[in-house]
């Protein structure tokens, strides 16, 4: 009963958070228009690049065109999450530490990590969400893959794990701003790492693959969910993915609590 109350409370908070951030976007009509244009342009660009790859050679790291589309689909879904949540929220943490408005967040009776991670919602991630789903669907249909409910569920779970891994990494870097105040555009670093997830991990040189799997777990963002969907993901690899997700997430929570002990609050 108490749990339900807490969930309802947070749902109401999130509703307020996201409806205000939508209103902010709508305040500036021209900006809204430009943003929508740039989102469409971006998507067209990445499709074009992928199609160029496959006109020359018909497989990429052992992945045929259709299954690569599925990976690109997952990549686009990750992009959508990044654009809607990670980018607008986590890059703001640095700003809030810098000018001290983090004070207001810390004094509210809400989980501060939740507030900082989901305060704003940018609608510009929505087109990517739709395109991502369409890409996966096209890949499945054109490649004549048969997907049963179980692999759909497993793939979804693995995808959520991927999101958690990416989120935790990003949040960890952002929270170091408590000490360093201005951290070198962590944003950009992670984005460039993320781009490597556009293509199957097996398309990369052998030496890079362990790094992309374990050190920067890019493999779990796109390749593993795609494999899970096609029913070809090794069980052990999926278990590793789930474990990494849990460990990273728990670590990010505790690291944030630890970091706050060192918060000095920008002077007035």
């Amino acid at each position: 009963m108490l749990r339900i109350n807490i969930i309802l409370k947070y749902l109401r908070i999130l509703f307020q958070f996201w409806s205000t951030s939508l209103s902010i976007e709508l305040e500036y009509k021209l900006n809204l228009f430009v943003e929508i244009l740039s989102t469409i342009g971006n998507l067209a660009g990445s499709l074009f690049v992928l199609s160029m790859f496959y006109t020359a050679d018909n497989t990429l790291g052992g992945w045929p065109w259709h299954s690569s589309l599925i990976i690109l689909g997952f990549y686009t879904l990750i992009e959508s999450f990044t654009i809607s949540f990670l980018q607008p929220n986590l890059s703001r943490i640095v700003k809030q530490v810098q000018n001290g408005t983090l004070d207001f967040v810390l004094l509210k009776p809400v989980n501060s990590q939740l507030w900082l991670s989901f305060r704003t919602f940018s609608p510009y991630g929505l087109p990517s969400l739709i395109v991502g789903i369409i890409l996966i669907y096209i890949g499945l249909v054109k490649g004549n893959y048969y997907v049963n409910e179980l692999s759909l569920i497993i793939s979804f779970v693995m995808f959520i794990c991927g999101l958690i891994i990416l989120y935790s990494l990003w949040f960890l870097i952002a929270s170091t701003s408590i000490w360093f105040v201005k951290i070198w555009n962590a944003n950009e670093v992670l984005r460039s790492v993320l781009i490597s997830g556009r293509y199957p991990i097996s398309a990369y040189p052998l030496a890079l693959r362990p790094i992309l799997t374990f050190l920067l777990p890019v493999a779990f963002l796109t390749t593993v969910p795609a494999q899970a969907l096609l029913g070809i993901a090794p069980f052990s690899l999926m278990m590793v993915g789930v474990t990494i997700a849990i460990v990273f997430f728990v670590f990010s929570i505790n690291f944030w609590k630890y970091a706050l002990k060192f918060y000095t609050s920008a002077s007035s």
Binding site: Q16, L107, S268
Partner: protein, 326 residues
């Protein structure tokens, strides 16, 4: 039973020193030398429920650091803080729902939207039901004299209107302990007065405890019966405002108006001339000699009007800060 208890509270910061210039910058980058700075040094006081306490001191004295320790934003280096039975730095939700921090130079309102949107967010955050929230908004808006401003984007509001809206947002959850850091900063005299009146009314209505820092002494004199003076991180004075005046300024301010133009050099024997005009003068006269000197003045000059008051609190305070106590 005090609602705020502070004992031996200290806060030290490590600050990296940087030499000027490019060489200094490189040196700073590779090997930093840290100096520990005592922002607050073993201060202690108790505050009862319903008190309005003024917290004054020069810039960098440690006022804001102390306030931030009281509301749990920064962890003390040593010492004990207890606010309404809670340890602030744990930031328990029960504690956070009972306090508020208003900072004159930082704002929580969403810049691009009308205040009402920020208020709705706060209502959700504090778990205030919609009906109750709109009732409270109406009530506080009335006390603050805010009307259609609540529906205008914050960026279009004047500084005074914004501060009032900021107060509304900070008090929506009806906290019983208010930490106010320069709440009247940059406001014109009228808006200052409004904010002051509002704080007084809020205190009376909800028996709220208020700790207030301000560089405008008028805020302090009109609201606070008790003041804490802090300088270089140490508590310098804790007591009634009136006693501070007596303790640190043995003189009183006498304003005289004459019927005719007079030779001001004749007045030098009576006290220190602060300001002189054609027909009037302001003198500082020692408390002990006051009756005698006034008597002489009345006998020797043709006086139209006479007024005796305490010297302005600003002068006393600045005297205390510069340690030049008479």
């Amino acid at each position: 039973m005090p609602v705020i208890r502070v004992k031996d509270l200290s806060k030290e910061y490590l600050v990296a020193d940087k030499q000027p210039g490019l060489i200094g910058t490189f040196r700073h980058f590779f090997s930093r030398e840290y100096t520990s700075i005592k922002a607050v040094e073993s201060i202690g006081f108790n505050i009862d429920r319903g008190e309005i306490v003024g917290f004054i001191g020069p810039n960098g004295a440690g006022k804001t650091t102390t306030l931030k320790m009281l509301c749990g934003l920064i962890h003390p280096t040593s010492g004990v803080v207890n606010v309404s039975g809670n340890i602030p730095s744990l930031r328990k939700y029960k504690f956070l729902k009972d306090i508020t921090l208003v900072m004159g130079q930082k704002q929580q309102l969403i810049w691009d939207l009308p205040p009402i949107d920020s208020l709705k967010v706060n209502a959700a955050v504090y778990g205030i039901p919609d009906k109750e929230a709109s009732y409270r908004i109406q009530e506080l808006a009335l006390m603050l004299d805010l009307k259609e401003e609540l529906n205008r984007p914050v960026r279009k509001l004047s500084l005074g209107q914004r501060m009032k809206a900021e107060l509304l947002a900070s008090l929506l959850h009806r906290p019983s302990i208010l930490f106010l850091d320069e709440p009247t900063l940059g406001l014109d005299v009228n808006s200052q007065l409004r904010v002051r009146d509002f704080l007084y009314n809020y205190n009376q209505k909800y028996q709220a405890t208020i700790i207030l820092t301000s560089h405008y002494m008028a805020d302090i004199t009109s609201l606070c019966k008790r003041i804490l003076v802090i300088d270089k991180g140490q508590l310098f004075y804790d007591g009634p405002l009136a006693k501070l005046t007596q303790q640190f300024s043995p003189s009183r301010l006498v304003r005289l108006e004459f019927n005719e133009q007079i030779n001001f050099s004749l007045l030098k024997h009576y006290g220190k001339i602060i300001k002189q005009d054609n027909y009037s003068v302001k003198l500082l006269i020692n408390r002990n000699d006051l009756p005698q000197k006034i008597n002489n003045l009345l006998n020797n000059f043709s006086i139209r009007d006479l007024e005796i008051a305490d010297p302005p609190i600003e002068e006393i305070i600045s005297k205390i800060y510069s340690n030049k106590i008479e």
